[in-house]
Amino acid sequence: MSTGIKDHAALSDLFNQDEARVDWHDETLWFVRAKRDKAANTLEEWEALRENASQIKDNVLSNLHDYLSEFESNAQKNGVIVHWAADAAEHNQIVHSILKAKEITRMVKSKSMLTEECHLNEYLQQNGIEVIDTDLGERIVQLAGEPPSHIVLPCIHKKKEEIGELFHEHLGTPKGASDPQLLTAAARVHLREKFLTRRAAITGVNFAVAETGEFVVCTNEGNADMGAHLSEVHIACMGIEKIIPKRANLGVFLRLLARSATGQPITTYSSHFRTPRAGQEMHLILVDNGRTQQLGRADFRNSLKCIRCGACMNTCPVYRRSGGHSYHTAIAGPIGAILAPNLDMKQYADLPFASTLCGSCTNVCPVKINIHEQLYKWRQVIVKEGYADPKKAIAMKTMEFTLSNPSVYRTAGKAGRWVMKNAPFLVNNKLNAWYKQRDMPTPPQQSFREWYKKNNNE
């Protein structure tokens, strides 16, 4: 807001310079939302399933200490080496030290939003380690030198012609080729070579089962499996909130995840890793990075129930028209807007305000996180902590004074005048912001109050 860095509004303004592109972005994501609706409607028990998943996650958060200990001890029994990282820096150092011990300088990585959150790629590159993202969308944004704009569809902001151009430059596809089939085939050849020659693979974790010590990774492309099963060293990175109590709970979450994310009945691969392959080393890093702090915030802790399906982004009318990069954080959209202020309230003070509080996000959330209510609550916290624009604070105080005093409100002017100056939509005195593309309402002859006094004398 007042950080000097471009905020969501400014970045959205840039994104909206090209309206045809905004339309395309909106329609593409709306298509995904529509697929999600269709998939949800194949199950009569959908709402019961959401409620069940939500309650399982509530139980997880309320018993996280014991579940983490149980998971750790079971994973260790399975032959997995378990690490704990208090923050992003420690996570990155752990990954680096594992690679260093094996003298590995090149590796493949499948999708992990946690490693995006920790900026692992940059860290490893600075330490002389090459990381190849193997999810097609992530590889595309990696080649473009950009972060993902969506947690499930990393390059949803890119047109196929732009991807064709990138592939022409980096993978040698014919100039002007933009057919998704052709581009995907080129990526397949390019990435197969990486899978076959890299000795280490990083994957994320969708679910980790306390009862068995196994963890589940979901992909459509099969890139997590290609990486993990061909590598000597598999490193799985997870936030501590990814725990679920029992293996049977997977039945609930796997039914919800892909249907919510892309409208598929399940991801192509739901891989359950319990022990390392013979001769392989399997590491698992449990990362806090602000999660224990969020767990302590009663109003915000259930944001930790998130299973990273991205449904809230696809349905969000703001996200669809501002693009993932406008959120300037690893996890964009409504869920990102309630997670990010926990990490840095000042830097992300704008995000809870990048919403109309329409509530659609809450309705699609498969674990029933009250996202829009948390956005409202973050606004209160951010203002109280002093991260609001001072001009806005003054305007709000004036407004408060007028609205608390009926006589001041009445004498503030005849119909329309007070609202013209102080109405919600004009409160930060950016008159042009309304008028730039919208007309003002025409002030009527008299206010309702005036009419009522004349016509309805009781």
Binding site: H8, A9, S12, D13, N16, D26, W30, V318, R321, S322, F353, A354, S355, T356, L357, C358, G359, S360, T362, Y376, R379, Q380, I382, V383, K384, A388, M396, K397, M399, E400, F401, L403, S404, N405, P406, Y409, A415, G416, V419, A423, P424, F425, V427, N428, K430, A433, W434, K436, Q437, R438, D439, P441, P443, P444, S447, F448, R449, W451, Y452, N456
Partner: protein, 246 residues
């Protein structure tokens, strides 16, 4: 039954006809309505901007004005939702809870309390209905497309009683218009784009009027329509439900 009429500040000052129609419609249905003259605002503009702590004065004033009525009715789903969810008072907590329980948006009140099954209104036009988010998702005035649940709609139920009115179908029946209080200026670009897209959906389906149970959404869409010199008009749902035979 006594009903206190709560008219949000911007309706009072900009859209008195919506308020007049609300009053007349309730009177026509035999309800004794009064409008407390000391009312100002529910405090939502401040609260949604993160300044809920500044709403104490508004809250106390609201309680003083409305606590005595059996019901409080307002032609704004958004303001009603704010009262329902956030009205509080350290001095008179019970009264605050009482107010929260008896505040109704107009179409909710007509459907759930008065159980209206017949109206005398006639409105021979093609009408697109905008589902305002706070009314729809907050007050659950109609079913939401995100949920796997049986459809219903209180506003549509009432509009279907209006003679000669033709409802138009929309491609996206419950997408937000982008008003969002201070959002409409703080996030001008996205707000306007959302409004343009919503308006386009109505225009593409041949609406002559866009109606809603929230005037703020309509004010936003009207601003866009007027800028384009469109002939399509916005009208609060009360004005249609109260439309006289012509």
């Amino acid at each position: 039954m006594t009903v206190g009429l709560f008219i949000p500040c911007y309706i009072d000052q900009f859209y008195p006809n919506a308020a007049i129609a609300t009053l007349k419609l309730l009177q026509k249905l035999g309800v004794k309505v009064s409008y407390p003259l000391q009312q100002t605002c529910c405090g939502q503009p401040m609260a949604n901007s993160g300044f809920e702590h500044l709403t104490t004065g508004c809250n106390e004033l609201f309680i003083d004005n409305f606590a005595e009525f059996d019901y409080i009715v307002s032609p704004s789903g958004s303001c009603v939702l704010h009262i329902k969810d956030h009205l509080h008072s350290d001095g008179q907590p019970e009264k605050a809870i009482g107010v929260r329980k008896k505040v109704y948006e107009l179409t909710e009140f007509l459907t759930d309390i008065l159980k209206v099954e017949k109206l005398t209104a006639r409105f021979p036009h093609k009408v697109g209905v905008h589902q305002s988010c706070h009314g729809q998702r907050g007050l659950m005035m109609s079913q939401m497309t995100e949920l796997v649940a049986a459809p219903f709609s209180k506003p549509l139920h009432l509009l279907n009683m209006v003679k000669d009115l033709e409802l138009v179908e929309l491609s996206r029946p419950d997408e937000c218009c982008g008003f969002g209080g201070t959002f409409c200026v703080a996030e001008e670009a996205v707000s306007v784009k959302m409004g343009k897209d919503r308006v386009a959906d109505h225009l593409n389906h041949g609406a002559q009027y866009i109606t809603a149970a929230d005037m703020s959404c309509l004010m936003h869409m009207e601003g866009i329509l007027k800028r384009r010199n469109s002939q399509v008009k916005v009208l609060h749902i009360a004005e249609i439900l109260n439309a006289e035979e012509v």
